[in-house]
Amino acid sequence: MESAAVPQDNVSTLANHKKAIYATSVTGEYAIVASSGWQVEAEVTTQALQELERLAEEAYESVVVGKFAPLYFHMYNQRMDLSTLAQASGIFKWRLKRHLKPSVFAKLSQELIEGYAETLGLSVEELCRLPQRGGSGA
């Protein structure tokens, strides 16, 4: 790709940052070109972000109807899934799945709750409730 062809699409997913792309000059010499992004990558990043938001949204609803504890929402809201949270908190997946049930979560030890809160970067208080609507998709 020639330097002149390096996309400068000012994409929102780079949030005003520039990324380094390798491209050739007119005489064929390679150099780094700072790019404000390519529409193509912005579309796929947006797609991935929207999928994460969709999962958090679904999770929010299922917590509202009492199917899961708020932990379930916070997991997705912090862009994790069952495997990621299980590994990040050092708790087996089958155990985590149990802890997601409101009745089981209510009886968890303070230690376990603090562990989840720390893994998700939240306070214990934040972890144990749903944020006011409009707080998802962070």
């Binding site: 790709m1 997913t13 520039k18 792309i21 390798y22 193509v40 991935a48 990621t84």
Partner: protein, 329 residues
């Protein structure tokens, strides 16, 4: 104390960028492309049974830390690498090294680094950056994928260094203890280039190298039978791994072409320079493939995605890329 002489450079990729800056700081000028090429980091792997965030692992380069290890093996650089069981110890070790005036390579999560914009924060634990100083409760950081140096709160970096899970950094710190003054390029370049070509062409497993690219093409052809939402996410995932994740464009193929060019100039090899030109064209084809995918994803639900056309395109990319390596064997 910030290291007085350290210079930040904007790079395409974190690990090669860190190692390039570090080598230069220690008196061995080595461009990012040379670091990438000489460590033998170019690869392709498609591992359907290893899932990250629900998507199969697709990598355009070898494993994290392969660049650090490759430079040690191929150039005789010696690195001190340290991990920690305890996060406070890890922070203390970093601070002590900074006090001694060292610049330190650090492995971290991307998600927990506050200076990353929201749009780029995904759970990826094998990011690399250099800490070159500390002022009050903040570290001075040279993150190669950013244009300028950044700052990060001590507590935030500690969290990012000690996340658990896949590729957990365990607080990894690294810095060179021995950097060679000169390099015998004649020998090393041809050795590494051949080795990479061989690895891409003659893998024993059908999920790595050119065979891996073909396997991915085949999987795309089979997406027709899958749910449309999954198919689109899968296709988007390929492009993200190729273009979004610090690859310098076309999944590291342009960086490698840049390496072949620079290496060809150093040892005056027309073969390498020609290979560089062909690799550039291969990179252009990877970008065409990405564009085809973007168009396919954009299409409305009623329109059918032509998976076979995408498969065919990727197969032709694989064939073109194989030609580069055949030339370099």
């Amino acid at each position: 104390m910030p290291s007085q002489t350290f210079e930040h450079t904007h790079s395409a990729h974190c690990e090669s960028g860190v190692m390039s800056s570090m080598m230069r700081h220690h008196g061995l000028p080595l461009s990012e492309a040379m670091v990438f090429g000489l460590s033998g980091a170019l690869m392709f792997a498609y591992i359907p049974f290893v899932k990250l965030g629900g998507m199969p692992l697709i990598a355009y380069r070898s494993m994290p830390k392969a660049i650090i290890k490759g430079l040690q093996k191929n150039l005789g650089v010696k690195m001190k690498m340290q991990t920690f069981a305890d996060s406070q110890q890890g922070t203390k070790a970093l601070d002590d090294l900074l006090d001694q005036g060292e610049i330190i390579g650090v492995q971290s999560s991307v998600f927990w680094l506050p200076y990353f914009p929201e749009e780029m924060r995904f759970h990826f634990n094998a990011h690399n950056l250099i800490v070159y100083g500390k002022e009050g409760a903040e570290y001075l950081i040279s993150d190669p994928v950013f244009e300028a140096p950044v700052r990060c709160q001590v507590k935030a970096l500690e969290k990012a260094r000690f996340v658990k899970g896949v590729m957990a950094p365990k607080g990894l710190l690294y810095y060179p203890v021995k950097v060679p003054e000169t390099i015998d390029y004649e020998i090393i370049i041809s050795k590494v280039v051949k080795k990479t070509a061989k690895a891409m062409l003659k893998t024993p497993v059908p999920i790595a190298g050119i065979r891996g690219i073909r396997a991915l093409a085949k999987s795309i052809g089979k997406l027709e039978k899958k749910e449309l939402r999954y198919a689109k996410l899968f296709l988007g995932h390929i492009v993200r791994m190729q273009e979004e994740i610090g690859t310098g464009g076309a999944g590291f193929r342009f960086i490698y072409a840049s390496f072949l060019q620079e290496a060809g100039t150093i040892i005056e090899s027309d073969k390498l320079k020609e290979a560089s030109q062909i690799m550039t064209l291969v990179g252009d084809q990877w970008r065409e493939f990405a564009l085809m995918i973007a168009k396919a994803i954009r299409s409305k639900k009623s329109q059918k995605i032509d998976f076979i056309a995408l498969q065919t395109k990727l197969e032709s990319v694989a064939n073109a890329e194989a030609e580069v390596y055949k030339k370099l064997l």
